[in-house]
């Protein structure tokens, strides 16, 4: 008797055993499905055979549709298509019948490595590739086992394709017709996985599953949610982080028809805000505009960008906490001043400004709550809402809503938006309330990429290569005071502040990096590619400057300086050099080519940029990008991520690409003053080339961002002879 058939009877046993079997194989999946039902209802619901055991992730419907749960937020990066591709490939599913759904918050959907349900660190594919392959392969094995048992043939005589099991003698059965029987098959503990050559979906250019509904207005983002009796809430936040009202006059606001309630709520920065709840957004907006709040600004620190700049520059002149100490710290001393570069860089605060403004909907029913949020941090947000409402996390049904961008902004360790939404919903028990942050709330609301100053002193050897490198980085820690601090801050250094420098792939013999993390009353957060946003800029502009001084080809210089084991960067550089040759060897007059390469989140990237100066701005005519992401799961998505991600990256170069504070107040409030790239600012063409690889896949969401800004200013330097060390790029 084969393993596939021996336990069919064993599985027709008690529901508890059934639960146990399923849970062993796929990690508590049944529990997750019935999270919002009382235990008795869970038991009752399992009296009938399950449609399919690993049904936390896969549901094969009688009509042949295969619904696959995505254990992460989709906010543009493409996992809503790529993760189902991975599972469907091992499952040998008919791709045209695959439906993708965003999973709610549940233990089973936690990131296999990070242990919470989240999107971050470009880890979606990197961490769930193996998981989704195994889920697909196990599901397939159970379908095969069911068919083999029905036909009384060994399962190794069955094969699968396009949602059909085929057996000896021309037998065939559709997955849909096998699903119920397969549900009673044991979930195999281990399954063989396909060889790369056997993939039918992975590695192919597959179009996104969410395109059409995003093009005809039918897709519902979190902000589009509409529930019966739902109210909309806006919040008047303190104008300076942490402040509270001395008094609130809401007479005029309350006189507006449709206003339901106005009340104070706490903010996570230990201040107090004023919530306005109304029947509709526009009513709430009108009412909020008419609040007369006398803010008590005494006792709150007033951050000021100019003052911070001076403070940071002073700090940068002194060594900070040590991130790297390699080689001789005194090596610089023996090098003449003429053979040194001393460079100071300044980077401003940056807002993420995802196109869909922040929002969360909560309905609190006393002993349960239901939440709808486009969250990168479902587990964290669910726990925070539970805390505010005095519930346990498993009393919160948390729906993951499609999100209109995020770039890190929907991954807040303090869940400040969700805490606000919960505090408001608690007051309006029984009524669903959608909290909306306006664009102004978003731009002025903090949680920025931190402001930074870098000071670097380089000693150059006789061969033009760097011999000694002293690098001090000053900026707020993103994770200090959060649960992430214990494993991200080491020796007083927040790794997210030094990543891209401390772990550089350049082989510099005497290399010393340290960091200062001043405390400032401005909330900060990871902004797509995090520390690499500033570290890659510093490293790649300095390497370019060194190559220029050495009168060496910038690609050859990088290749010479890279460590021998920097395989991905070397592969990306080679491919970029080859693919950009057609245009960069015959540039029009007034154009220059700039290069950079940088590895982040395990992915090596190199780019070449064709730049001229128009209207005193860099005009980016063309970008050639080469990327080594290991196995390319969906090359079409990777191409798209890199084409668009380099555009996100040039946010840093926009003339109005900075958040600044004056006397505690954020000086920008909307896209008129904090301006992301428009089409005119974007590269006109971006060609993306992927290094062929069968290595395990690494991330592609963030790695496009770090390379572009340094490459553009490296080109500008050739055109103007100047070096660019202060962002945003106000003047060329």
């Amino acid at each position: 008797m084969t393993a596939a058939t021996n336990s069919a009877n064993d599985l027709l046993l008690s529901r508890r055993s059934f639960l146990r079997v399923s849970a062993t194989a796929a990690g508590g999946l049944i529990v997750s499905l019935y999270l919002d039902l009382p235990l008795a209802a869970q038991e009752a619901s399992q009296a009938k055979p399950k449609v399919y055991p690993p049904d936390a992730f896969v549901h094969i419907k009688p009509d042949g549709k295969i619904v696959i749960q995505v254990n992460r937020l989709e906010f543009g990066q493409g996992v809503h298509t790529a993760l189902p591709m991975i599972l469907a490939d091992e499952l040998d599913a008919d791709w045209s019948q695959v439906v993708s759904e965003l999973a709610p918050a549940a233990d089973v959907f936690k990131d296999p490595l990070y242990g919470i349900q989240m999107v971050g660190g470009s880890g979606s594919i990197a961490h769930s590739f193996q998981q989704y392959r195994e889920l697909g392969a196990k599901t397939r094995a159970m379908l095969v086992a069911a068919a083999a048992e029905q036909w009384n043939v060994p399962s190794n005589q069955c094969r699968t394709e396009a949602s059909v099991v085929r057996g000896p003698g021309g037998r065939s059965a559709k997955y849909a017709n096998l699903a119920v029987a397969a549900a009673h098959m044991p979930v195999p503990e281990t399954v063989p996985l396909k060889k790369a050559a056997e993939f039918r979906l992975v590695g192919k250019k597959i179009r996104r599953l969410d395109s059409r509904p995003k093009c005809d207005g039918s897709l519902k983002f979190g902000l589009d949610l509409d529930l019966p009796r739902m109210k909309v809430a806006l919040v008047a936040h303190p104008p300076i982080f942490g402040a509270s009202p001395r008094s609130v006059d809401d007479t005029a606001a309350r006189s507006i028809p449709g206003v339901a309630d106005i009340f104070e709520i706490p903010t996570v920065s230990k201040g107090t805000a004023v919530a306005v709840v109304a029947d509709k957004f526009w009513t709430a907006k009108q009412a909020r505009d008419r609040l007369r709040i006398d803010w008590d600004l005494s006792g709150v620190e007033r951050a000021d960008s100019s003052q911070l700049r001076e403070k940071y520059k002073a700090l940068a002149g002194t060594p900070g906490n040590v991130a790297v100490a390699r080689g001789d710290e005194k090596a610089l001393d023996g090098i003449a001043a003429t053979n040194r570069i001393v460079a100071e860089y300044e980077f401003p605060y940056l807002a993420h400004s995802p196109m869909e403004p922040l929002n969360t909907t909560v309905r609190f029913d006393g002993n349960r709550a239901e939440v709808w949020a486009g969250s990168q941090f479902q587990t964290v947000d669910q726990m925070a809402i539970a805390e505010v409402l005095g519930l346990k996390p498993d009393q919160i049904t948390f729906h993951t809503e499609m999100a209109g961008g995020g770039f890190g902004r929907r991954a807040t360790p303090d869940s400040h938006v969700q805490r606000e939404a919960a505090a408001i919903a608690k007051r309006l028990t029984g009524t669903p309330v959608k909290l909306v942050w306006t664009r102004e709330d978003d731009v002025q609301g903090g949680y920025y990429r931190p402001m930074h100053v870098h000071r670097v002193e380089i000693g150059i050897g006789a061969d033009g290569m760097p011999v000694a490198w002293h690098h001090v980085i000053v900026g707020q820690s993103i994770v200090a005071g959060t649960p992430f601090a214990s494993f991200i801050i080491k020796n007083g250094v927040d790794e997210t502040a030094v990543e891209g420098t401390a772990d550089t792939h350049y082989d510099i013999p005497n290399f010393h990096v340290s960091a200062h993390h001043p405390t400032v009353n401005v909330p900060v957060l990871w902004w797509r590619s995090v520390g690499h946003t500033h570290n890659a800029f510093v490293m790649e502009t300095l390497i370019d400057e060194l190559a220029t001084r050495a009168k060496m080809d910038p690609i050859a210089y990088r290749r010479k300086l890279l460590k021998p084991d920097a395989k991905k960067l070397r592969a990306a550089l080679d491919l970029m050099e080859e693919k950009s040759a057609v245009w960069r060897t015959k540039l029009p007059k007034g154009h220059a080519v700039g290069f950079s390469c940088h590895e982040s989140f395990g992915t090596g990237v190199a780019c070449a940029v064709d730049v001229s100066i128009e209207n005193e701005r860099p005009k980016i005519h063309r970008v050639t990008v080469a990327v080594d992401p290991g196995l390319a799961v969906n090359p079409l998505t990777i191409e798209s991520q890199f084409q668009a991600g380099v555009c996100f990256g040039i946010s840093q170069l926009m003339a109005k690409g900075a958040i600044t504070l004056k006397d505690g107040y954020v000086e920008q409030s909307n896209f008129d003053a904090y301006t992301p790239p428009y089409i005119i600012d974007a590269p006109a063409a971006v060609d993306v080339h992927i290094v062929p690889s069968t290595e395990k896949p690494s991330g592609c969401g963030e790695p496009p961002v770090p390379v572009i800004s340094p490459a553009v200013v490296n080109a500008l330097s050739q055109l103007t002879g100047k070096r660019y060390r202060t962002l945003p790029l106000v003047t060329v």
Binding site: G217, F281, P354, E356, C647, D672, I679
Partner: protein, 154 residues
């Protein structure tokens, strides 16, 4: 509160709202047509673009009281138009969208462009699309899809 008779995607609609309410919020909250998006509220991002009498219009800054009898077309209705359908199809075949939030507005701007200029130059594209922000940065594929749609329409 005033009552307004509107024609949206060819259908007569009636709403009773404050006269200052922007068309965007009438569409989204009173008519429950959420395909038109709120991005900035100051006509700086184009996510709210609809057609008012055929003109691409930022609905977030146009009070409903100023619409009068001009017909409104939104992303939900643009697929009934051959140009609209061609643009939507090109967007899907070129795999333009990422987060997708801005794309309703992008598509409405493109359709207005192609109705006026069926064979747009790069300059035409940059001028007509110059006020639509895509924060994901999908502009390269937007350009490609505009050209693909234009080809389909010849």
């Amino acid at each position: 509160m005033e009552t307004y008779k509107l024609t949206v995607n060819g259908q007569p609609k009636e709403v009773t709202v404050d006269p200052g309410t922007p068309l965007l919020w009438v569409l989204r909250e009173d008519l429950k047509m959420t395909g038109t998006k709120y991005g900035c509220g100051i006509a700086a991002c184009g996510a709210c673009t609809v057609h008012v009498a055929g003109v691409a219009t930022r609905s977030c800054v146009v009070p409903v009281s100023l619409i009068g009898d001009r017909p409104i077309v939104t992303i939900e209705g643009i697929g009934q138009d051959p140009v609209g359908r061609a643009v939507q199809d090109a967007w899907v075949s070129e795999d333009v969208v990422q987060c997708g939030y801005c794309q309703s507005g992008q598509i409405m701007s493109v359709v207005a462009l192609l109705k006026r200029t069926p064979k747009p130059t790069d300059t035409n594209i940059e001028q007509s699309m110059g006020g639509n922000i895509c924060r994901c940065g999908t502009y390269v594929r937007i350009r490609e899809a505009i050209k693909a749609a234009s080809q389909q329409l010849k």
